[in-house]
Symmetry: C2
Subunit: 255 residues, 2 copies
């Protein structure tokens, strides 16, 4: 059961990590990454014991990781009923996008003011990797790198509370894209990212903010948030009710 979790790339040096305090970070990062790359679909049940076995740690560690994820609204923690990957409703999606516009605007303005040459180089490098991922068809990595770009930009802005808020928003956005993206267009265009970096480097606030706002427009224009996006995808519609059935029959989103 829980086959979805096995494709995790880095196998994790199970248990033996002598240094304390890092194990839960590792588990957290792996689950987070799996969700960000959409290897874990919304609604997927996250069993503590199964995860513990996969990562070679006790339930204590898993529980901590799930707790952190729940605090970022990436995972839903139902009392006595375990954790599932969150499945945002249309309304929740709208709220996340509203917050993101606000935050991205502020981040852009701060980045224009504070971003160093080194940070801009790192950002460019990330966009190149993002472009490469899409061009070789690795959509998962592309989505992850696209999210990390926005996170890195927040770091360049240099405001700690904003960074942590952005982390939560970016991962929720990824979930929303997984659930509501309509076509199969590459959903976070790297050329927009590149233009944005140029504007920041030129210290052109108006241009940078304008580009970022259009970028936001583009992202949510690709989503089906207009109505209930009803009956389009039964799995998405009912994912908040589903749990991974143990008998092979009904297991959702396996492929």
């Amino acid at each position: 059961m829980n086959e979805q979790l096995q494709p995790l790339k880095k196998p994790v040096r199970a248990g033996k990590a002598g240094r304390s305090g890092t194990q839960d970070d590792i588990v957290y990062a792996h689950i987070f990454e799996a969700i960000l790359e959409q290897r874990l679909a919304p609604g997927t049940k996250l069993s503590e014991e199964a995860l513990g076995e996969i990562f070679g740690v006790s339930r204590t560690i898993i529980r901590r990781a799930l707790s952190r994820l729940a605090h970022e609204s990436v995972v839903l923690l139902r009392p006595n009923r375990g954790a599932v990957v969150a499945s945002p409703t249309v309304e929740e999606a709208r709220q996340v996008f509203f917050s993101r516009r606000m935050v991205e605007r502020a981040i852009t303005e701060l980045a224009v003011e504070h971003a160093t040459a080194e940070q801009l180089n790192e950002l460019r490098q990330m966009v190149r990797e993002e472009r490469d991922s899409f061009s070789r068809g690795d959509r998962g990595a592309g989505i992850r790198l696209s999210g990390e770009f926005h996170l890195k930009l927040a770091e360049a802005a240099g405001n700690a509370p904003l960074i942590s808020f952005q982390r939560s928003l970016v991962s929720q956005t990824s979930l929303i894209i997984a659930q509501y993206e309509s076509g199969n267009r590459s959903h976070c265009s790297y050329d927009e990212h590149m233009q944005l970096i140029d504007a920041i480097e030129a210290r052109d606030v108006n241009q940078a903010v304008s580009l970022m706002m259009h970028h936001m427009d583009h992202i949510d224009s690709k989503l089906n948030l207009d109505e209930d996006s009803a009956s389009d995808d039964l799995h998405a519609v009912f994912s908040h009710l589903l749990q991974t059935k143990k008998r092979g029959g009904v297991a959702p989103l396996k492929g």
Copy 2:
């Protein structure tokens, strides 16, 4: 040891709470409230065992509560060295206030749009309680209610991500006030809160936002963030280094 924690008002029905899932919430809320009301000063060591004994629960529960608090940057979790009440630096304080201005502006705009009559009544009730607390000299309760006002306003705005961000910002603000407030003026004037509610009820966005921004100005004009606020208070200056000593001698911020 850890005498600071004993004044907690509600004694907590220790352990016996039949319903599961609520115990960690209770502990979390109590510690959070203690910090918000400044019964727990910045830098105070939070021993897991001591807290467990006080609340009548095991370290497991305490640890979860501390984890949540750390995620909100209210508590600092140092690996292998335990938790302390966070003591924000001047730079961190500035960042928090920057974020708060941004969030409060958005919240105000949304509240003008969405706040119901019932919510406005509740807000007014809170301001009355806040005023009463200050007028009878209960500064702690006043500070707490002042924070809860801003939280309640976020709820009236109706944006979930914003609410959770605001929760984190409000509690950090309270810490900052504890550390940097200069005089002993009542620091969050309830009449400003009341005027704000009036503007929101009148659906006057410009007026409401303007009042909120002035309110923010007033709050941080009462703080000593201008320089390092140096040599004014040694305890405050070094509180980020201090831990609660066990021998009575050096225990900081006891009175």
